[in-house]
C-alpha cells in the first residue's frame, strides 16, 4: 500500500517532468526554459488555482469549519517561523535565521498544486477553501520573519543620504506591502475573489473559463515542473556553502511540520483530502513570495541560503517523497470521509 503510493507519485507525469529537469542539469544538457516563460506558467498556475478555489469556496460557503481551518492555517504560518527561528539560530546569525524561518512558515503553491493533482489521481476529494488557507498563509510568515530579523539585529550605523527614512526602525509600510501586495500573493488572492464573485453572481462565465483554468492545468503544471526541476538542480550547488546543518534542517523540517499539521487536522476533524493539503501547507517552504520580500526587507540575509534550502531540497523532498508519505500518515490517522 505505502510503497504503491510512493510509486504512483513517482510515476505521475508532473513528477516525471520534474525529474527530467533535474536530470537535465545533472547530465549537462543545455535544455533551458528562458525567462519569462516560467513566469508565464507561474502566473497562470496562481490565477487558475485561485479562480478554481474561489469558485469552490462559493459552493461550499464560509461555514464554521471553513473559518476554523483557515484560522488554524494562519496560526501555523505564525508559529512555524518562530520555532524554526529558534532552531536555526543555533548556527546562523539573526538575519539568515529569520529569512529561512519565514520561508518555512510560508507555503509553496506548486507543492500544493502537485498534492491536489495527486489527490485527483487517487480520486480523494478535498475542498476549495483549502486554497483560501493557502492564500492566507503566504503573508503572515513574511511579517514574522522581518520582525525577527529586526529584533535580533545588531543596531547598524545610521545610513546617510539617498534613503528616505534614516531612523533605522522597521519600515512598516514597506514590509506590509512586500507581505500582502507581493505580485504572487496579490494574484492568488485576487483570482480567488474573482472566482468567488463569478461563481456567485454570473455562473454562466464559469463554463467558459473551464478550458483555460481547468483543462489546461495538468499539462501546464508538467511544463512548469520541468523548469522547477532545472532550477532546483542548479540550486543544489549552493548547498555546499549551506553546510550539513542547513541540509539537515531542510529535510527534517518538512516531515516535522507535516506532523504538526496532521495533529491540527485531527483536532479539526478534517477529511483525508483536506488533511493532506493542510500537511503540505505546513511542510512546504516558500521560494516565490518570501525570497522576493526578504531581498528587500532583510537585505543582510544571503538569498542563496534561503532559496537553496526551500527550492533545492525541501521542494523536491515534498514533491517526490513528502506528498505520498503524508498520504500514508493521513490514511493511518484520518478515517475515510
Amino acid at each position: 500500500m505505502q510503497s504503491s503510493l510512493v510509486l504512483q507519485n513517482l510515476l505521475s507525469a508532473p513528477v516525471l517532468f520534474f525529474f527530467l529537469g533535474i536530470l537535465g542539469v545533472l547530465v549537462g544538457s543545455d535544455l533551458e526554459i528562458p525567462a519569462p516563460l516560467p513566469k508565464l506558467f507561474s502566473l497562470y498556475l496562481l490565477l487558475a488555482i485561485g479562480f478554481k478555489g474561489g469558485m469552490e469556496l462559493a459552493h461550499s460557503g464560509l461555514g464554521s469549519q471553513v473559518l476554523l481551518t483557515i484560522g488554524a492555517a494562519v496560526a501555523m504560518s505564525l508559529l512555524v517561523p518562530l520555532t524554526s527561528f529558534l532552531v536555526l539560530r543555533l548556527r546562523l546569525d539573526g538575519a539568515n535565521a529569520a529569512a529561512i524561518a519565514a520561508s518555512y512558515g510560508s507555503i509553496s503553491a506548486v507543492t500544493f498544486i502537485t498534492a491536489e493533482s495527486f489527490l485527483n489521481v487517487l480520486e480523494v476529494g478535498f475542498d476549495g477553501f483549502m486554497v483560501a488557507a493557502l492564500a492566507l498563509m503566504e503573508s503572515p510568515a513574511i511579517v514574522v520573519g522581518v520582525v525577527l530579523a529586526k529584533l535580533s539585529a545588531v543596531p547598524e550605523e545610521s545610513e546617510s543620504g539617498g534613503e528616505q527614512d534614516g531612523n533605522g526602525g522597521l519600515r512598516w509600510r514597506e514590509v506590509l506591502q512586500e507581505a500582502f501586495l507581493n505580485g504572487s500573493v496579490y494574484l492568488l488572492v485576487g483570482s480567488l475573489v474573482i472566482g468567488w464573485v463569478v461563481a456567485t453572481f454570473s455562473p454562466a462565465g464559469l463554463e467558459k473559463m473551464d478550458p483555460f483554468t481547468e483543462k489546461l492545468f495538468y499539462g501546464a503544471l508538467c511544463f512548469f515542473l520541468l523548469d522547477m526541476g532545472i532550477v532546483a538542480a542548479q540550486r543544489l550547488r549552493d548547498l555546499q556553502k549551506a553546510g550539513a546543518f542547513l541540509i539537515g534542517f531542510s529535510l527534517l523540517a518538512p516531515p516535522l511540520h507535516a506532523l504538526a499539521g496532521l495533529l491540527v487536522s485531527v483536532l479539526l476533524g478534517l477529511s483525508q483530502g483536506n488533511t493532506l493539503l493542510f500537511m503540505v501547507l505546513c511542510a512546504s517552504a516558500s521560494y516565490i513570495a518570501v525570497p522576493a520580500a526578504m531581498r528587500m526587507t532583510v537585505p543582510q540575509a544571503n538569498p542563496s541560503l534561503y532559496i537553496s534550502t526551500a527550492l533545492g531540497l525541501t521542494f523536491p523532498f515534498n514533491v517526490v517523497i513528502g506528498i505520498p508519505l503524508y498520504m500514508v500518515l493521513t490514511r493511518q490517522f484520518i478515517p475515510v470521509g
Binding site: 528562458p34 525567462a35 519569462p36 516560467p38 513566469k39 506558467f41 507561474s42 545610513e159 546617510s160 543620504g161 539617498g162 534613503e163 507581493n182 505580485g183 504572487s184 523548469d227 532545472i230 532550477v231 542548479q234 521560494y287 516565490i288 513570495a289 525570497p291 522576493a292 531581498r295 528587500m296 537585505p299 544571503n302 538569498p303 542563496s304 532559496i307
Partner: protein, 93 residues
C-alpha cells in the same frame, strides 16, 4: 561629461532610479535581465519566475558637476543592497 554604470538587483532598480533623478540627473537608461558574478555570488535569471529577477544595468550620462550628487545618492543603496558602480568619461555625439 561623465558616464555612470551601475549594476544591481532588478528588485532595487526603481529605488535607484528615483535617487538618480532626485540627485538632478536629466535621464537614465535601464537594461534588465542582466546576469553576472560579484561579491554576493552568481546571479542568474533562473529565479525570474518568483519575481526576484536578475540584475539591472543602469547607465546615466551626466555633466561633470552632477557626478558627486548622483554618487552620494546611489552609494548608500549599493552598500545596503549590493551592486557596483563605475564612472568613465564621455562626450555628447
Amino acid at each position: 561629461m561623465k558616464r555612470i554604470d551601475l549594476i544591481l538587483s532588478e528588485r532595487e532598480v526603481n529605488r535607484v532610479c528615483k535617487a538618480i533623478t532626485k540627485a538632478g540627473a536629466q535621464g537614465y537608461s535601464v537594461m534588465r535581465h542582466v546576469t553576472g558574478l560579484g561579491l554576493s555570488g552568481e546571479i542568474s535569471e533562473a529565479m525570474d519566475f518568483s519575481g526576484l529577477g536578475a540584475n539591472a544595468h543602469v547607465i546615466v550620462f551626466v555633466d561633470d558637476d552632477l557626478l558627486a550628487a548622483v554618487g552620494a545618492a546611489v552609494r548608500p543603496l549599493l552598500k545596503r543592497y549590493g551592486g557596483v558602480g563605475f564612472v568613465s568619461t564621455a562626450e555628447p555625439l
